[in-house]
């Protein structure tokens, strides 16, 4: 009785420790999201250098001075 309780406690502890430690490692070594960062950089650079002004007008609300309408 004592033995099985001990071993199941040990098992439980080991699993808990693993469950806590592994994600912690992942969090610390989480890879840098290179693609997302590139996208973010492009978006900010387009805004700062005012590139792609026409695309903004096309993708947003229709341009107020749209000759087609």
């Amino acid at each position: 009785m004592k033995f099985s309780l001990k071993s199941s406690l040990k098992n439980g502890l080991a699993v808990t420790a693993l469950a806590l430690l592994l994600p912690a490692c992942v969090t610390i070594n989480i890879y840098f999201p290179a693609a997302a960062a590139e996208k973010a950089a492009d978006k900010l650079i387009d805004d700062i250098w005012q590139l792609k002004n026409s695309e903004k007008a096309n993708s947003g609300e229709p341009a107020p001075d749209n000759p087609a309408k």
Binding site: L22, A36, A37, E38, I45, D47
Partner: protein, 138 residues
């Protein structure tokens, strides 16, 4: 045995959570980032001519530098220097703020190097940038 299996499941769940977070877009909508963006946007009107004349170039570390001071009249050089300094302050702050906004202050260096590449990629032809061999022209 069941407990171990359950533990593994929990671990797998936590791992996939982390991956999902990492795959999402970076957070850019913070007051600090918007303010920096606005100030850089405004300054760009003054800097654009200097990029085109080669007075200022893009550096490898995501900043800008005076490349050819002689392209600028002597009397304007001091204001050019302060323009470059202000721009670099904003750029440094921008990289830091993006890292912080995404909960990973340690990403600052990688964000900086990502920007360094993208600034150059998006530069107009005729603008100067720094690479491993020194200054080059787009």
């Amino acid at each position: 045995m069941k407990k171990i299996l359950f533990g593994l499941l929990v671990i797998a769940g936590l791992l996939s959570n982390q991956l999902a977070l990492a795959a999402a877009d970076l957070e850019l909508n913070t007051p600090a980032i918007s303010a920096l963006k606005g100030s850089m946007q405004q300054r760009h009107g003054q800097l654009a001519g200097f990029y085109a004349s080669g007075a200022v170039g893009l550096t490898r570390d995501g900043l800008i530098a005076v490349k050819e001071a002689s392209a600028v009249a002597l009397k304007d050089r001091q204001s050019l220097n302060s323009l470059v300094a202000s721009e670099n302050n904003d750029r440094n702050a921008l990289y830091k703020e993006i890292a912080i906004a995404n909960g990973h202050a340690e990403w600052e260096a990688e964000i900086r190097s990502t920007f360094a590449q993208r600034w150059v990629q998006k530069a107009q032809s005729g603008w100067w940038y720094q690479d491993a061999n020194g200054w080059a022209k787009r």
